[in-house]
Structure formats: C-alpha cells, structure tokens
Amino acid sequence: MLRRFFWLVFLLVPALAAGVTLNGAGATFPYPLYAKYFSAYHKLTGVRVNYQSIGSGGGIRQLYAQTVHFGASDAPLTDEQVEAFERKFGTAVVHVPTALGAVVPIYNLPGLSTPLRFSGPLLADLFLGKVKKWNDPRIAELNPGVKLPPFPVTVVHRSDGSGTTYVWTEYLAKVSQEWRDRVGVGKSVSWPTGLGGKGNEGVAGLVRQTPGAIGYAELVYAVQNKIAYGAVQNRAGKFVLADLATVKAAAAIDDFPTDTRVSLTDTPALDGYPVASFTWILVYRDLDKNRAFKSKAEAKALFDLLWWIVHDGQKLNEALHYAALPEVAVRASEANLRALRYRGEPLE
C-alpha cells in the first residue's frame, strides 16, 4: 500500500512540475471565458495558465505588487495608474482586449411580453430615484401600447466594486448632466437610492425576487437567468436590444486608439448597443521588469498565449455569450504584442 503510494507520488511530481506555469488574476466578469481559453490552451500546448477572479481592482493591484504574470480588468487603467506604473517600474502597461460585454437594464414587471424601451436620460432618472412609479408618463411615452403597472420603482445596484458598475455609470454620466454632477463614474459610487446586491448574481437575484425592481447586469446573466431586459436608445435614436451583433457594431470604430483604451458607451454607430465595453488583460511592456517572470521562456509563453487569444481564441467567445473582437482591435493588439520585450529582446 505504502509502496504504491510512493510510486504515485513519483509519477505525479514530475508530471506536475513539467512545463511553464503562468499566474494571472483580476476581473470576475470574463472568468468563465478565461477558464475556457486556458483549458483549451493547456490541451493545445501543455502550458498551464492559472487564472483567479479576485476582482479588477485586485488584478491591477496584484500586477503592481508583481505577484502575477498578468492582470485582468473590465476598465482600462486611468492615466494616473499608467503613470504610477511608469514611475515605479519604468515600463508601460500594455492593454490586450480579449472580449466584449454589454450591460443591460433588467427589470421585474410581471405580465409584460415585449422588452421595454428606455432612453439614456430616463435610465439616469430612474437610478437617481426621480422616476418613482412604473406608470410614469415618461416611461409610457417611450412604450406606447404597453400596459404599465402602478408599482413603485425599486432600484437595485451592485454593492461590491465592479467593472459592470463602471460601464453603467459611465454611460449614465454621458447622457445625463445631473448624473455626472451628483453621482459620477466609478467602480463603486455613492448611490442616491436603492438596494445593493453582491455580484451580478446578487443583483439578478434581487431583481427577480422583487416586483417593480430595476437593476443592471451583464448581458449573459440576464440571458442565463431568463430575466427580462430592455432596449436602450442609442445616439442615432434607435432602440437597440443588446446581442452579440449590436455589441460588436458598437466596437467597430474607425479611429481605433493604438493603446486600445477606448470607451464604447454611447456609441455613434447606427446599430450599436450603447452600453458596451471591452475587457482587458494587462501586462508589462518590458516583461523582465515584473518580478513574477523568472525566465525568458515564461515571457515567450505569455506572448504566445496572448497572440493565441486575440486570434484563434476568439472562436470560443460566442458560445459563452461574449462578443468576439472586431478587426480593428485585433490589429491594434498585434502591434502592441509585437512591442513586448524581455531584457530588450522581442518575443515574436
């Protein structure tokens, strides 16, 4: 018995030690997709990528503390954060977009069969607590023919800091002066009204349980949990329901910035859904500046991985309800990845 156990250990340990292991941490929203990527990539190349979803802010902080090979975030670094990395480590941080997500207004109004229509300013006023009843004339005006119940509006928002909140508040701030002044943009903001649920599933759960509730969540949560979500009027005046096509349309920008740090909310695209966003993987441009890298082999492995994600990996996105990157984003990422260095040497 004991001998067999030893054999097992002897067989296991070398098998476990073989190959490169990369550690990454950050955003929770793309975690299922990343789990899929890394599982597929392990089968393909034998490289183990261990990704843990500790939150976007956590991901950025761990990248700064150099405990991980790469971070992941739903919001791009702010200019101050970019500067902080430059100052401390003397290297830029490269943003590699991996997928697109959409945030949708979800609600619980029994008896409605078609999705409600919202305009940006209406959503802002709902979340400011200024529209108090569902049969308010401003809602009725956008939804002719819909029989709205006289329920009180219960706002549900995220209680934890979240990239989803960042995208949602960024959109509201773009379409409402009052939102910009009173609440502002952030991963956690001071909400004027409503209940806080922890995580996307917390918000979805509260909305589902509370008649008259309105909240916001990533599209995939609304779809998977079969919660009603509304169409949002985009800048072109069209009411757009979020799906993979309309989200992708929002990201097809002509003058795509080279660092890919771009906001997609309130898109001018004709068919674009106005509350969409990229999610990014973050790496040092000079990988040797990150203490987590012990060898060039690791740097090379990371480069290959990221290259694979923005190309072949994209095929995995849509099955999990994430939109694939548009062509412009892939081109920009190729250029950025080619600029990665390890001790000054390119990795391609």
């Binding site: 476990l16 789990a35 203490r291």
Partner: protein, 274 residues
C-alpha cells in the same frame, strides 16, 4: 405561593425551554435540507476525481479543491494549534502570569475581526515578502482565525478539571511542568481535540481570507509554496457565475463541505466522550 401554581409554572417553563430549542433547530433543518437537495445531484465520480472543466463542457470536478482544502487546513491547524494551545495552557495553568490578561483580551478581540482582514494580514506578512501566492500564506491566514477559538477552548477545558488533580500531582513531588504534561493535558485530551476540530471546521468554511493568499489553482498541486485551490474558494467563484453547471457544482461543493464539517463535528463529540 401555593403549590399548584408552582407546579404549573414548572410545566410552563419546561414547554418554554423546549420551544426555544425548537425555534433554534428548525432553521438548521431547513438549511440542511436545502443544501442537500441542491447539491446531491452534482456529487458523482467525476466530481471527486477530475480537475474543473470550463462551463459548457460536461464532467469536470473538484479534485484540486478537495486536495487543497485538506493541505491548507491541516497546515493551518498545525500552526494555529501550537500557538492556541500554548496560550490556552498558559492562561489556565498559570493564572498568575502577567501575560494572561492581554492574552484573554486578544482571544476575544481576534474573534471579532472579519476573516477577510486575516487574509490581508497574511498577504502583507507572507505573500509580499515571499514574492508570490502560496498555500502556506493561506494557512497562515486561517491559523490566525483558529488561534482565538483553540485558545479559548483549551482554557475552558483545563479550568473544568478539578484543582485537586494538580494538587495530587504536586503532592507526589512532581514538578509543575510534569503535572501539566502528564496529568492535566491527558485528562483534558478530549476537550482539547474538540476545540481543535471546531477551529478546523470554522476555518474550513472561509473563502475570504484565501482570496489573496492561497489564490486558487485550476490544476492539481501539492506544492505548499505555490498557489493552491480550496473548496470555499471554488464555491465562491462558481456561485457568482451565470452558468448552470457551475452553479450546480457550487452547491455540490457546499454539500460536500457541510458533510465534511458534520463528520469533523461528530468526531469532536466522540473525542469528548472518550
């Protein structure tokens, strides 16, 4: 007061205390049934023998998390047990020692610190200096969590032993340390084991302190200096995903955890009776 009224009051109070007990136990029953019904469907062979699979792929299990839970918790028990036992014995056997008051205060105050701060502590003290996440740092966080429980349990148990036991030993000419090691501790063995197991059970259910320390790992790992997975972490991560098969597995893991805790508890009680 006349006799009949006194007997009546006696009866009423019996009903009252049993009712109070029932009020406590009913929700427990609800919770256990709920966890069992939600989780039992996920427990199969794959669950115990496979690493996790991405959403949408059938199969996949919790092997790395199950292994990791045992490794992390046992290391934590070793560290927390040593410190907690030391403190507890000092408080009970050397009542005159000046360290006792601060120790008792620390035992109580540490019990009120949210577990996530223990994780932060281990992050600053272990992860940053060592330059990476590790199962060991997770164990440190959980050990801090265990210390007050073990310390208090040890003290309670030792105090329950009659003082005459020590006096008998001392009268035989045994030095104090022999009395403690050979008479007091063996006599209190059951209670001490209970304390250890209860601390273990409490720590085994915590996810927050492991987030920034043990970190989690989708691959099977036995390396205490590398990232390692744990059941509560997996429950936390899977439960907040939108995918049905992951949520089902989260419930399965919750059920497994509860079963493990029930066994631990049962063993703890048996240890007392011995």
């Amino acid at each position: 007061m006349n006799l009949r009224r006194r007997y009546l009051r006696d009866r009423i109070m019996v009903a009252f205390v049993y009712l109070g007990t029932l009020v406590v136990l009913l929700p427990l029953g609800f919770i256990l049934v709920h966890v069992f019904l939600s989780g039992v469907g996920a427990l199969n062979w794959d669950f115990f023998t496979k690493p996790p699979a991405p959403p949408g792929e059938p199969g996949g299990g919790m092997l790395p998390a199950i292994v990791g839970t045992f490794v992390i918790d046992l290391m934590a028990l070793a560290m927390g047990g040593a410190l907690g036992l030391g403190g507890g014995v000092l408080m009970a056997e050397y009542p005159e020692h000046p360290l006792n008051r601060p120790l008792r205060l620390v035992a109580n105050v540490l019990g009120g610190v949210p577990a996530i701060l223990m994780g932060l502590f281990a992050f600053v003290v272990v992860v940053l200096p060592m330059g990476g996440f590790s199962a060991f740092s997770g164990s440190v966080a959980l050990a801090v969590l265990m210390i007050p429980i073990i310390m208090r349990a040890t003290e309670e148990v030792l105090r329950m032993l009659p003082w005459e036991l020590r006096e008998a030993g001392l009268a035989l000419g045994l030095p104090r340390w022999r009395v403690t090691l050979s008479l007091v501790l063996p006599a209190a063995k059951g209670g001490i084991v209970t304390g250890l197991l209860l601390a273990l059970a409490r720590a085994a259910g915590e996810a927050a302190p492991l987030l920034f320390t043990a970190f989690g790992n989708s691959f099977l790992s036995f390396d205490p200096l590398g990232p390692m997975d744990s059941l509560p972490l997996k429950i936390y991560v899977y439960a907040i995903s939108p995918y049905e098969d992951w949520i089902r597995q989260a419930w399965g893991a919750a059920l497994l955890l509860v079963l493990l805790l029930m066994v631990t508890n049962y063993l703890a009680r048996r240890a007392v009776r011995r």
